[in-house]
């Protein structure tokens, strides 16, 4: 019988690339006859194998993961606000609750929502925005009119300018906003459409302008040639506010930007601490963690109604609320403990969600409920997270496994170019319908090339098989007991064999590799881009402090306080 094969190329390697640390996952070699065999090694370049050559010192100081010495600088750029950031900005600026439900995240699901390169104003996005924001101004007509410094019947250019300046100051984050383009719209239309209608048009022009849709990180515009620039005080205030609060600068921060004293390290540090302590600062860290947990697009989640009739909108919302409350609790009541996030065997189970846990009763809202022993372990075993990474109908071993290695180990599984798949013929291999997923997927693990990555994805995927597509605990699938055991043998510091997800996640919570990954994730979120080897120094420092403190709440501020945060590199002319 011909062995199934996975690649048409004769010799190449499957890379699991950690930026800055490449682990050779598997290699596809040839004996010259076109026969392929899979080998699997793990370790940093030059390392012999799983044991590696690391010392506890290089692990503790992070040079094991982030060896780079020279600190690079992010290039100058413009950064589009996420739909949520934009809506918050509009609410703050107009002082009314703006709703734009058609604006959905545009970033690809393997990026953070705020990835500066993945955000885009598509034609559909702009068309939805233009129609819906216009409609919102009509809805809030009276509230906007009430903000006028004049009677609506006396609405003239001066009165319009006063309101536009007040709205623009918040929307643009600048004490003396540029309202001239909006004023031109007002002047052009006021005769034809009437002053009040023209004011709405002017507001739209103001709020849809690129100075609000985007924020700049271009540095002072009166300096034409410098290749390295510091963010202007206004740019810095926005960078700080969006990184820490996922929202625009508040009045106090805008004042510091206006007086330019934000450039002073003491003022900047004080503002950072002030924002962290504010309600929006706590929300900011929560947004980062929920995005990392794959819950950013949870609203669009649907399950097969025939298989899961109980997955109603009410249950769906209750499950998300449970996880949000849990994350909030860890951040505010447990010192941001990463260990608690990963391993608490309690949760804020809602009455609707009790049956998913096999519980008869739950504690009052806001109270932790103890979970059945040995079945759950921290946030990755909560139904909302599990449901979000499952198919509408099936649990999805491979997808879940990929999610775990991407989110917790920061491994990027890269397929070689030109790879042509040839799936195994299971029937010919004697694996009929009665065979288990494990048996079938074991075949794939033994395939040349494919095996390299599948050996990585399968163990964490199987570990989560005790939870179905809506996160309900189960002990068997199609009448067969679940085997959730395995080991992350490909990793260097997270190898301990486990019997199920609870053990795997407990191991992960203490793994330096996982801590290094959290530092990377925080970097991606704060800088809006993937880390490069030249970012090693600040990621290393972030890791070093995190692995010591295990404090999730300290991840973002640490990066914000770094010198690289406010520096940008201009492209050569």
């Amino acid at each position: 019988m011909r062995l199934p094969r996975c690649g048409s190329n004769w010799s190449f390697a499957v890379r699991a690339s950690l930026v800055g640390l490449t682990i050779l996952m598997g290699a596809c070699t040839t004996d010259g006859q076109g026969h392929q065999s899979a080998t699997s090694t793990a370790g940093a370049p030059g390392a012999a194998g799983p044991a590696g050559s690391s010392s506890s010192a290089t692990v503790a100081d992070g040079s094991e993961f982030f060896p780079g010495a020279a600190q690079g600088v992010t290039k100058t750029r413009i950064w589009q606000l996420t739909p949520a950031q934009y809506i918050t900005t509009l609410r703050d600026a107009l002082g009314v609750p703006i709703e734009l439900p058609r604006l959905l995240p545009t970033a690809r699901e393997d990026h953070f929502l705020n990835d500066a390169n993945a955000l885009a104003v598509s034609e559909v996005y702009l068309a939805d925005l233009e129609e819906d924001l216009r409609a919102q101004l009509v809805v809030h007509q009276n509230a906007v009119t009430a903000r006028l410094a004049c009677a609506v019947t006396a609405l003239d250019a001066a009165c319009a300018r006063t309101l536009l300046s007040a709205v623009g100051a918040v929307a643009q984050g600048i004490a003396s906003p540029n309202v001239e383009p909006a004023m031109q719209v007002f002047m052009a239309l006021t005769g034809q459409a009437g002053a009040r209608a023209a004011l709405d048009d002017a507001l739209l022009a103001l709020l849809m302008a690129p100075s609000v849709l985007f924020r700049t990180e271009l540095g002072p515009q009166d300096v034409a040639s410098a290749t390295q620039v510091s963010l202007t005080p206004v740019e810095l205030s926005k960078a700080l506010a969006y990184a820490i609060t996922d929202a625009p600068p508040d009045q106090a921060l805008r004042d510091h930007a206006a007086s330019t004293d934000l450039a002073s390290p003491q003022v900047f540090a004080a503002e950072l601490q002030r924002l962290l302590a504010s309600p929006r600062g706590q929300d900011g860290a929560k947004h980062f963690l929920l995005d990392w947990l794959g819950l950013a697009s949870y609203g669009g989640l649907e399950k097969d109604p025939n298989l899961f009739p109980e997955f109603t909108a009410q249950l769906k919302d209750a499950l998300l609320h449970e996880t949000e409350t849990f994350v909030d609790h860890v951040l505010t009541k447990r010192g941001g403990s990463f260990g608690d996030l990963m391993t608490l065997e309690q949760s804020f189970v809602a009455p609707e969600g009790a049956s998913l846990y096999g519980l008869q009763a739950v504690q009052a809202p806001g109270e932790l409920t103890g979970l059945p022993a040995g079945q759950r372990m921290g946030v990755f075993t909560q139904p909302a997270v599990l449901a979000a990474i499952s198919d509408p109908a099936l649990s999805g071993v491979i997808f879940r496994g990929k999610f775990v290695v991407e989110r917790l180990l920061c491994m990027t599984l890269v397929r070689p170019e030109g790879l042509v798949i040839e799936f195994p013929d299971f029937a010919a291999l004697g694996l009929g319908p009665d065979s288990t997923d494990r048996e079938r997927l074991a075949t794939v693990e033994n395939m040349a090339v494919c095996g390299g990555c599948h050996k990585v994805m399968h163990p964490p995927g199987f570990a989560l098989e005790h939870y179905d597509a809506i996160g309900r605990y189960r002990t068997e699938i199609q009448g067969k007991p679940i085997d959730a055991s395995g080991a992350l043998t490909f990793s260097r510091f997270t190898q301990a064999p486990f019997t199920d997800a609870t053990q795997m996640l407990r191991t992960m919570s203490d793994s330096p590799e996982v801590h290094a990954c959290l530092a990377r994730q925080a970097f991606r979120y704060v800088f809006g881009r993937s880390e490069l080897p030249t970012d090693d120094p600040i990621v290393r420092e972030t890791y070093r402090q995190f692995t010591a403190s295990r404090n999730l709440g300290a991840l973002l501020p640490q990066l914000v306080a770094s010198s690289a945060f406010a520096l940008r590199q201009r492209p050569l002319p």
Binding site: E130, D201, L204
Partner: protein
């Protein structure tokens, strides 16, 4: 013949004049055919053994082949309008097969980097054609998708020149309101009605706002520190603004019938169907009706539709039954039934394939019903049934189940089954479409090497 713009009509005739006009005219028979390129994309391919025709390749009329017992039997009424192909291979672009198959499908190019944005290299054929032949219509192209819920790379198959994805319109009611409602008016006298003066003022106001944003974008582009990638972000914004502006005052067609006008209004101005997986068949039908309407009114000549994105996460096809029970998985998940240990996935797949092909047949039927001076709109179109993989289970890219319906204005011979030898790469089929649409100067599409040999089927 160039149609007067809507605004010119309003100014020239006034409301009363328009009311007196027979809005919905037939095209003169002597006019050159309006050619369209329509892509009907359904991911996850076809169950192979129940798809390809029985018999040998050749002309349908000669009886060489038939589709008895095959999933293609649902297209029996259309066989003389089809070119059924076997043997074309999708170029291996790299990355996940679903992702790669989707991104290379119309770009004919490699995947830049599965982790980066933009993900594609170069423009997709539909967008190229939109720039070339779409300039005379209000919409250069129309992209409609049904329940494409995951933002993974395989979601997008249309890309601009920089390789940035072109987004799907996933709400048929918005598309109707933006593209058709104004043209259709009250079905009695065109877009003219008592409210038109107000509508016209609103258009002026909207355009004024958009012009202002456009100018602001232009100013920001001149700032210090903007490199090509940053400029591109603003260029996408500007493209988006211009597309809304074009709708506000672009030239409109108007070759529709009063009957289709009334049907459209009844369909789209009633209570909207929820945009949910459970309503998938209804949403798809709305989109297919919109496509037919766009063709009839000549709103656009380049149309791309997607029923599903490659990879997991599609709508469970619960509206289909097998053994008296609803099918409880998406097309993608059913296609991988063997790997998932589902014993009855093959008969289910046959049901799914027949349903997908039936939807394609519905579109063909609608296009056939549009008379364009002796020929039907289908005769004047090339309607491509496309997918990202051939056998969903295997993720294979060989023997793609590509069908072309229509004669593209008489330039493509139909009623045949072509088995192409030597695994010609799909770039050559893209070249065929380009040539059919008048771009005969092109000698390659995407990558030159896989295009070698030139267009297929001509």
């Amino acid at each position: 013949m160039r149609m007067p713009s809507r605004r010119a009509l309003l100014k020239g005739f006034g409301a009363a004049g328009l009311l007196a006009m027979p809005l919905l005219r037939s095209r003169p028979a002597s006019a050159a055919p309006i050619k369209r390129f329509i892509t009907f994309f359904s991911s996850s391919g076809m169950r192979q053994d129940t798809y390809f025709p029985n018999g040998s390749p050749g002309d349908f009329a000669s009886g060489n082949y038939n589709v008895t017992g095959k999933t293609l039997d649902v297209l029996t009424p259309h066989l003389s309008d089809l070119t059924i192909t076997k043997g074309i291979e999708i170029y291996g672009a790299g990355g996940d097969d679903h992702d790669a198959g989707s991104v290379t499908l119309m770009t004919g190019n490699k995947v830049r980097d599965p982790k980066q944005t933009p993900y594609a290299m170069g423009e997709s054929l539909d967008q190229y054609l939109a720039r070339r032949v779409g300039t005379t219509t209000v919409e250069p192209s129309l992209l409609v998708g049904v329940r494409l819920q995951r933002n993974r790379a395989s979601k997008w198959i249309s890309f601009d020149q920089a390789g940035n994805y072109k987004d799907w319109n996933q709400d048929p009611y918005s598309v109707y309101a933006r593209l058709f409602q104004g043209v259709l008016g009250d079905c009695a006298g065109g877009g003219a009605s008592a409210t038109n003066a107000a509508k016209d003022l609103l258009s002026v106001r909207r355009k004024s706002v958009l012009d202002s944003v456009l100018a602001e974008s232009g100013a920001l582009k001149r700032a210090h520190g903007m490199d090509a990638a940053e400029l591109q972000k603003l260029e996408r914004l500007e493209t988006a603004i211009r597309s809304v502006e074009r709708r506000l005052e672009g030239p409109m067609g108007g070759f529709g019938s009063a009957e289709s006008c009334k049907t459209a209004k009844a369909t789209f101005e009633g209570t909207p169907a929820n945009n949910s997986d459970a309503n998938f068949p209804q949403l798809l039908k709305l989109n297919l009706d919109l496509i037919a309407l766009a063709v009839e009114l000549d709103v656009t000549r380049i149309i791309t539709l997607s029923l599903s994105l490659g990879g997991s996460g599609g709508a469970p096809m619960t509206w289909l039954n097998y053994n008296g029970k609803p099918i409880d998985a998406s097309h993608h998940d059913i296609s991988h039934g063997e790997q998932r240990g589902v014993s009855d996935y093959l008969p289910k797949l046959e049901i799914v394939d027949r349903w997908n092909l039936t939807q394609y047949g519905y579109l063909l039927e609608k296009l056939k019903a549009i008379n364009e001076g002796g020929a039907t709109a289908l005769d004047n179109s090339a309607v491509w049934f496309a997918s990202d993989v051939s056998d969903g289970k295997l993720h294979s890219h060989t023997d793609m189940p590509f069908i072309i319906a229509g004669k593209a204005g008489g330039e493509l011979k139909t009623g045949r089954y072509e088995v192409l030898q030597g695994k010609p790469l799909h770039q050559r089929l893209l070249l065929t479409f380009a040539h059919l649409m008048g771009e005969t100067g092109l000698t390659s599409w995407g990558l030159p090497e896989p295009s070698a040999g030139g267009p297929l089927l001509l």
